[in-house]
Amino acid sequence: MPVSLRKPSTFQQYKTLLRKDLEQEFRTKEMLTSMGIYALLVLIVFGAALGQTTDGFNLLQAAGGLLWTLLVFTSLLGLNRSFSHEKEQGCLEGVLLVPLDRSVVFLAKATSNVLFLLVVEVIALPLFYFFFLTGQPLGSGWPLLFVPLLLGTVGMAGIGTLLSTITVNTRGKDVMLAVLFVPLTFPLLYACASATTAVIVGADGFMDVFFLSSVLAGGYDVIMVLLSWVLYDFVITA
């Protein structure tokens, strides 16, 4: 009986790698739990930080920035975790033994990071609203919030995957990731915070600012994800 062996397509490889990450996560729920709790703790810190503000303080204007602060720190934690357990259990070496295109590894890892971040955002956003924004008049266009959130998540996960692959091999990797991640994602944060604030506040002509910021964030995403994708080959084989 002839044995037929078919080389799996790139998309299948991608799906397998992605499923591996997701299954591992749903079995342990380690990353989501730690990220969720961390997000809650950052919110509590915000509560203490904003406790002394008076009624005149316009929380609405600061809300977009605070939200992005929360997301950056939470995603830093998540990105750190996403490669350290691959490293600890020698999983990465196993994956690299398979003759597959290295960029597939990048795409699968970046996708799983995007998914984890989105899950955390789904948990953190209502909490943020609950703690800080319930009494505030939100702008009419607030559902547009998901645009900068998605753009920011994709960008952070894209470049963050590359950076966490680099930093997992360094001494003091947790700090190292933050040192590289924050300055490199600064333009994205700036654009996303601007777009988010624009829709939350909903001042006159907010659509212009929102549109411009979203386009810039999208441009950053495209450039940086492509660049990370190209450079990932060098990083992972080093």
Partner: protein, 256 residues
């Protein structure tokens, strides 16, 4: 040299021809920047600021407005800023060359370029910040150019922190080359983003005036001088790092 007769040890080469130019470039740079410095104060007339009520005869010309001495910072500020970015561009070029060839020499080139870039960025930040402090009355504002340079400085510092956190030379070289390329791409984006998005808190202050011929000539002289200084520093540092690497290689060969 300690040559094992059977297999010659490979030493990092150094002491090529451009190394001899290094000190001369430094000397030329020192002379040119000094000339430029004197030109900035003695040759170029002071730039006029706000008008005052009345006219005075100063130094053979009628003056009816306040004179801005702080503007003299500009003559060194702009060339330093341009050279820092140029050095970063060269660093990025060497990073790409390294990734293409995996030749350790290019890694050294890239890291020395980044050092020179950091030096000139620090110079730019110092001059720019003192100007900001006097003209705008604040030590810091999130102006697009200030923000971009702060981020650029942080990225380059991160580049060196990353280098110091890695022990294996090959891995260090690859990782820092990747970061060098990303940094070079990130900086223009950062400038665009901070400039295009209007900041609600601080108005974007952009004062772009034309340069007179005298100012242009002075900036050109300082620019050439600074390019010489940058090149001289780069070559001297490169020779020194290379020598240190040779010493290490010889030591290892002797230990065997």
């Amino acid at each position: 040299m300690a040559q094992n007769r059977n297999k010659p040890i490979k030493l990092p080469e150094g002491g090529q021809r451009p190394d001899q130019w290094g000190p001369w470039a430094m000397l030329a740079g020192a002379v040119l920047t000094t000339v430029g410095f004197l030109m900035a104060f003695l040759f170029v007339g002071p730039v006029n600021g706000a008008a005052v009520s009345g006219v005075e005869m100063i130094g053979g010309s009628m003056v009816s407005s306040k004179l801005l001495l702080s503007q003299k910072i500009f003559f060194f500020h702009m060339p330093a800023a341009m050279i820092s970015f140029g050095a970063l561009a060269f660093g990025c070029y060497y990073c790409v060359r390294f990734l293409m060839t995996k030749n350790q020499r290019f890694d050294t080139c890239a890291s020395v370029c980044m050092e020179v870039a950091l030096l000139f960025i620090v110079c730019t930040m110092i001059t720019g910040d003192l100007w900001t402090r006097f003209e705008w009355g604040v030590w810091w504002t999130w102006d697009p150019r200030l923000t971009t340079y702060l981020i650029l400085m942080l990225i380059i510092i991160a580049y060196f922190v990353l280098r110091s956190a890695l022990d294996e030379p090959e891995r260090r070289a690859v990782y820092s080359a990747v970061i060098g390329i990303i940094a070079f791409v990130d900086v223009p984006i950062c400038y665009m983003v901070t400039r295009l998005i209007p900041s609600s808190l601080h108005p974007v202050v952009l004062r772009e005036g034309g340069m007179t011929g005298e100012m242009g000539a002075t900036v050109a002289v300082i620019m050439i001088g600074m390019v010489c200084v940058g090149f001289g520093l780069y070559r001297m540092r490169f020779r020194q790092v290379r020598l240190a690497q040779r010493v290490e290689a010889v030591k290892e060969a002797l230990d065997d």
